[in-house]
Symmetry: D2
Subunit: 295 residues, 4 copies
């Protein structure tokens, strides 16, 4: 048995140093450090296809650049996310921003001021007009897959910090099975002839999972992105060898977002010998730390 | 100020009686009782369109009949749910079942036995074969909307306890924006020529929300179903007058599933004068109680 | 394997009937039903000593009568609780009350109005004066144990619905290791010569645990009451044969309140063959339901 | 309104740098950064009495040195903690250790091996013998206050990394209202003539709170330590000007551990103008980060 270290954090410690200390502790601290180590292993393994599931209002909270840089650095091979994160990526690319606010506030007053609240983050309602203007000018083949549409849209953006633009440029697939469930989806539905072949996306992610020599999972928040990655791996020859999960959801009510990763072993989605860890942590704490660790 | 009752629960108390006692207490007990009262109000108001968002593994856990009966009784006017709940509804309709299991178990062993685990519920992996057989025989127009496909599929089922069949028969719309994110979606992708016009669904739910004289929300678990109902109400003339939310997710990490309903006021999705309540509760506890209350 | 029932809740169903249905479902619903069954077993077993740990603001929320009645009916043999619940029991016994409030409110305004908030329950600050008057007149031996003091105090109360009075009358021990951590403790410290022999209490609960032929645990909320009962059972010949735990705390941050009961097996506090279950549920929902089930 | 920064974490970033970036984001990340800033303010203010409430199995998890160093550096003026943390501090001081383990494990097997589990931390059961040997040789006045006893015990320890020894040496008071609720308490009860005047402690902490020119709160985990600090401040001339709270408990079930700090304003424990923040975070993640920030 390995002794727990009673850690002493040196002055001016780097995040990398801190994680090396914390891996010798217990509870969430140890698990966050293990998540850093496992992600690093995935990155160092050339054959490992890294599936990244991103749920939660991560772009409004300031996590956009981290995700964008991880795509650019090759830390993310396949991104599965919500329509909301893509919508907020577009909003930022169009020159609009999110703002620091408070959660103890009158929502009626915010509504009168034209401000939409996401816990303690604010967004001006007028961003919808900017988005509408952009959408109206957009030309595209309405029968594309969702991924193709996202790449096409990303290619029109003049913001190199955009997640969609970076993925488009580097041909990193972004899958968004719940795409119509977003502000961007609504604008498209109301302003454009559009269909988007969602099943083409599904066949593509299954094909990527099927042909991967090795698979690694990074799950932020759960939701549809988690389920979508997990189901793509269900009947593959090589299920996940690595997995990390960052969420504040819990297992006992039976929802997928809070499910322990080992549950995926029963389904054949995760390998019984896989190296995996769950961290019960707000992703806006964990992601910057992991970013600092990975460099 | 109204005094808290130190409640005494009579022997053989009915659920209805218990809720009437609990509305005079504090914390979660009071809030669950208020959820019952608010849902009852929605049902009694003829003009109120009741949008019901169902996330979480509710069919595997035994909540299928409750949802099916609420559709039949007119307690649900629009159902938005996950592909998973529809997949499990189909599995039950095909004569297969879910089983009581344990969460403290070897997932590797379950995998060898062909059993998929959902917390403490088990499902035999062979259900996928039954589903594949059924899908292969299914004929349909590949350009339907998802809702139209669900109705079409529901009409083929011989099980009157099916959610999809009941909704199909009674023309209650089921929306499933993340439909490809499900076992049913995978079977369709691999076995059929299928596109499904997801944007037609989106336009339809927006239209229903736009023309509703009054709107009421019942949100179970959050996720895409919650967001999809909320976004449909965002720019309507009549945003939600009633809302109840049952979830174990929490507000502070900023995800939509845990967001307090009052946040929706800032966005214009919920009326500042609305009657609404959140209950922090496992839905497999809350749903049967609400069912017992409503009768 | 036992099939999950897709339950149908009959109109006018009693709580007892509902629990019998819910034990055939999954997740939290099944577990709450199992908690009812396990508590019933404990009660029916004449040799089983039932240790009841009560944390959380249960008296303010309206759960006082349930606890009082369970003491009177013999469902609780040993009560371990917080100083706060005893303080609020005294406040009610002195003719004061708690009130239904809101959690979305200006706490500064409440402070100006002399109202103390406990989530959505209010209490008038003036109750402290009533408590002080009562305490000043109280006579007692300052070297009593805490349990003896509680019985002595309970015997002075004219309210037969009081937890302390009922326990005093029926000689059901109440242990309160954190007694000085309460409004009642503060009033005693400031107004009286008082010591109270806390170690006498500790020896007594260890002795009760040591001599119990069989032990059953009912843990509400966790905290010091949970730990105190568990530690009393650590080195006993007969550790717990039954245990139920109702809490919304979670295991992964390592705190005792959220710890799974099976952890107690490693310590020798719970028997490896014990019948036990945890329910992730607000106790103000679970307690009235269990009360309705037990009758 | 201040824009949210889409942060870019530089390679080799220090924790201090990271927190300065994170204060410009949203959700938990922002709040953890704010906690660092508020604690720093408390430390820089010479008149601010810093009350530190420590609950949870922090010593077993490896947080002992951080707490010990904060006492030595003057970051903690008054420590209120659980008997368990003191027990584990003693165990370490006696040359025993805690170990890294797993939470997915057979507790029956651990029991047979003489290993006690605290989530994913292990402790050998034989530590109780070492503790008993130490206790039997200890001489003391049985009528001391708990604080006096802790200082007396701390003075006997040969381990300069001990929390109790450091507090003893520097005359930093440690209050432990639930002292009998601990392994150390049990050993004392069984082996020694001991009473300990708990009310003397209570009067002392009230006196410290009463005479503080300014008060700052650092709450880890909640429980009795949180309540005890809050109640000491209830009727003081200068209630808390600063407060930070790190917990994974939630407000809605009404328990104190999860209660928002602003609730304390209604009670007069926290100043309406106070600078305060709650962080929903495992303390084994937050404490090392705060330690790295403060230096």
């Amino acid at each position: 048995m390995k002794e727990i270290d009673q850690i002493k954090v040196p002055e001016n410690a780097t995040i990398r140093k801190l994680m090396k200390l914390m891996k010798n502790t217990g509870f969430g601290g140890k698990r966050l450090a293990r998540a850093c180590l496992i992600y690093e292993k995935m990155i160092k393994e050339p054959d490992c296809k890294k599936f990244f599931g991103l749920a939660g209002a991560m772009v409004p909270a300031g996590m956009r650049q981290i995700i964008r840089d991880w795509i650019a650095k090759g830390y993310i091979d396949v991104l599965v996310t919500t329509g909301a994160n893509l919508t907020h990526d577009l909003i930022e690319a169009l020159g609009h921003h999110h703002f620091q606010g408070e959660h103890q506030v009158s929502d009626e007053l915010l509504n009168k001021k034209g401000i939409d609240r996401i816990y303690d983050v604010y967004m001006e309602n007028k961003v919808y007009e900017a988005m509408e203007d952009f959408i109206q000018k957009l030309e595209f083949d309405p029968n594309m897959s969702v991924k193709e549409f996202i790449w096409h849209l990303g290619a029109q953006l003049n913001d190199e910090n955009s997640i969609m633009r970076t993925a488009s440029k580097l041909k990193v697939p972004i899958f968004c099975p719940g795409f119509t469930d977003s502000g961007l989806g609504v604008q498209l539905a109301l302003n454009k002839k559009i269909k988007l072949d969602h099943f083409k996306d599904l066949r593509e992610i299954i094909d990527i999972a099927w042909t991967a020599k090795k698979a690694g999972l990074v799950i932020i928040g759960g939701g549809v992105p988690k389920n979508h990655i997990m189901q793509a791996l269900q009947f593959t020859p090589n299920n996940a060898s690595y997995a990390i999960q960052i969420t504040t959801d819990i297992p006992s009510p039976g929802g997928l977002s809070g499910a322990e990763l080992r549950e995926g072993i029963s389904w054949g989605k995760i390998n019984p010998k896989a190296d995996f860890v769950e961290v019960h942590c707000d992703a806006t704490i964990a992601l910057p730390i992991i970013a600092g660790y990975l460099g």
